[in-house]
């Protein structure tokens, strides 16, 4: 069953064409990885899919699909009066009157992502960037969404947590039938984790299963002859403004 259909998607901002005539579809319960060099328009693609930037063309989600987004960068000022529990409650309509089950459920969700239960009472602003990223992933998955858009989910966390996030992605995909769209610079992860890959450099260059699509020739076309080495060395660390 199809969960997303994109046709002739073009994004122009400030006179520059960031995405040019991109067309693809995504089936339910698959993991689609978006790869490409810095400035290729990967984050812009996510923002267009979410309606956060103006675009031309056609973007259609399956009716009623609940879509959540884990952005690449998320910071909270240290003095923000907001506890971790309250941050989770922002995802629930019962902000003022949470039930006990909800709070018990939070402890379980935090445990899955390696956060101790005592952080629930701490202000969000004092968490480290790695803890905040874990919290954001946990927050996004809390209400069992149909589709999750992860923009470099492991950019500011240690390798161990990276493995946890990819394991969670596979689990929500296989067990809950969720669809995952993932931006990643780590081609090893993409090869082992994704069902399909979408090579993007402003235009859609190739798409298909990773083993068949990420050939040396395709990578050279996507990143250039120097870029292949650059990305292999800097996997997971490169800042992406796309």
């Amino acid at each position: 069953m199809r969960v997303l259909e994109v046709r002739d998607l073009t994004v122009r901002l400030g006179g520059e064409t960031l995405l040019d005539d991109v067309t693809f579809t995504v089936d339910r319960a698959t993991i689609l990885a978006v790869v490409g060099p810095n400035g290729a328009g990967k984050t812009t693609l996510f923002k267009a899919l979410l309606g956060l930037v103006p675009y031309t063309g056609h973007v259609a989600w399956a009716p009623g699909a609940r879509v959540v987004y884990v952005p690449q960068r998320f910071t909270v000022p240290a003095a923000m009066p907001l506890t971790v529990t309250e941050f989770f409650l922002l995802a629930s309509p019962r902000f003022w009157l949470p039930d006990r089950q909800f709070v018990a459920h939070l402890t379980h969700e935090l445990d899955l992502l390696g956060l101790p239960p005592h952080v629930l009472d701490r202000p969000v602003g004092v968490l480290s960037s790695g803890q905040l990223q874990r919290l954001l992933v946990s927050w996004a998955l809390l209400e069992h969404p149909d589709v999750v858009l992860f923009d470099e989910p492991t950019a500011s966390v240690d390798a161990g947590f990276g493995q946890t996030v990819y394991a969670i992605m596979r689990r929500i995909c296989r067990e809950r039938g969720a669809t995952v769209l993932l931006i990643s610079h780590d081609l090893n992860v993409v090869s082992t984790c994704a069902d399909r890959v979408l090579c993007l450099n402003r235009r859609l260059l190739c798409t298909g299963p990773p083993a068949e699509t990420l050939t040396p020739a395709a990578l050279e076309r996507l990143f250039g002859p120097v870029g292949v080495h650059g990305h292999a060395a800097g996997a997971g660390h490169a800042a992406d403004r796309g």
Binding site: L52, V68, Y69, A79, L82, E86
Partner: protein, 267 residues
């Protein structure tokens, strides 16, 4: 000039009426002020309240109740700020500063001398029963809307992208601005145009020093707004002072006493 003595204070409603208005307007100022401080719009309240002055002047010129001039001018200002922000991408405070500080000068020139002090520093006029009901009802409605939409307002403070994905679009910025203007319009009667900005930010600043979480911060800010406004009004009546400056000074004193809590929490 120290404004003391019965001559300096215009004819006012009964003390019970004054205290009821102070409680309702103080609570709604504190509640919306919680977001005004988080969104770094503290000075917007000052500028917005100055926008009321030309409105007051026009209402007086046409023989209308100044409140209508205040409400219309503030709502127009809120819509204009919201629209210009979308068009230019400039921060709200820059736009408000650019467009509306001149309103103070225009208002001062247009308002008759006899009404200037009341406009600038506030007064409790004697209200008829329907007027009192409208004032209290509007203040409580603003309080209710602020708490009801707190989750979405807060999402927009944290991240524009996350908020929009969660269904809290830019319309909630406009709603917050409209509630803010409504509260400023009500508060101008209480503390005057010069001091109204302070009535929205002082309770929130006190609550932020003391509270650890968002729910405690918001409830604390609303409660603090009500308590400071009621106590200030009572003290002003007791000592025959103008209520506006008395309320604001009392708030500043409470803020000073709240500072050690912030230092202890390492904020």
């Amino acid at each position: 000039m120290l404004l003391t003595g019965a001559d300096a204070v215009p004819a006012a409603g009964t003390l019970a009426q004054q205290l009821a208005i102070a409680a309702a307007v103080g609570a709604s100022s504190g509640a919306i002020g919680a977001f005004v401080v988080l969104k770094r719009m503290a000075l917007v309240g000052d500028a917005l309240s100055h926008v009321a002055l030309p409105g007051i002047a026009l209402a007086l010129a046409y023989g209308l109740d100044p409140l209508w001039g205040i409400v219309v001018s503030l709502l127009l200002a809120a819509g204009l700020v919201w629209w210009l922000q979308d068009q230019t991408g400039l921060p709200v405070d820059a736009l408000v500063g650019l467009l509306f500080t001149a309103s103070l000068a225009v208002g001062i020139l247009l308002i008759p001398d006899a009404e200037i002090l009341e406009s600038l520093f506030g007064a409790f006029p004697a209200l008829s029963a329907p007027e009192l009901a409208i004032t209290l009802g509007s203040a409580l409605a603003a309080l209710g809307v602020t708490f009801a939409f707190a989750r979405r307002f807060l999402l927009r403070v944290l991240s524009e992208d996350l908020a929009r994905v969660a269904g809290a679009g830019r319309g909630y910025d406009l709603l917050l601005l409209v509630v803010f203007c409504g509260v400023v319009a009500l508060g101008i009667k209480l503390v005057g145009t010069l001091l109204m900005g302070a009535l929205t930010i002082i309770p929130a600043s006190i609550a932020r020093n003391v509270a650890g979480g968002m729910r405690a911060y918001m409830m604390g800010s609303a409660a603090c707004g009500a308590a400071v406004a009621v106590a200030g009004t009572a003290l002003a009546a007791w000592w025959s002072l103008r209520p506006g400056p008395t309320i604001i000074l009392l708030g500043v004193v409470v803020f000073v006493f709240s500072l050690p809590f912030a230092a202890r929490a390492g904020k």
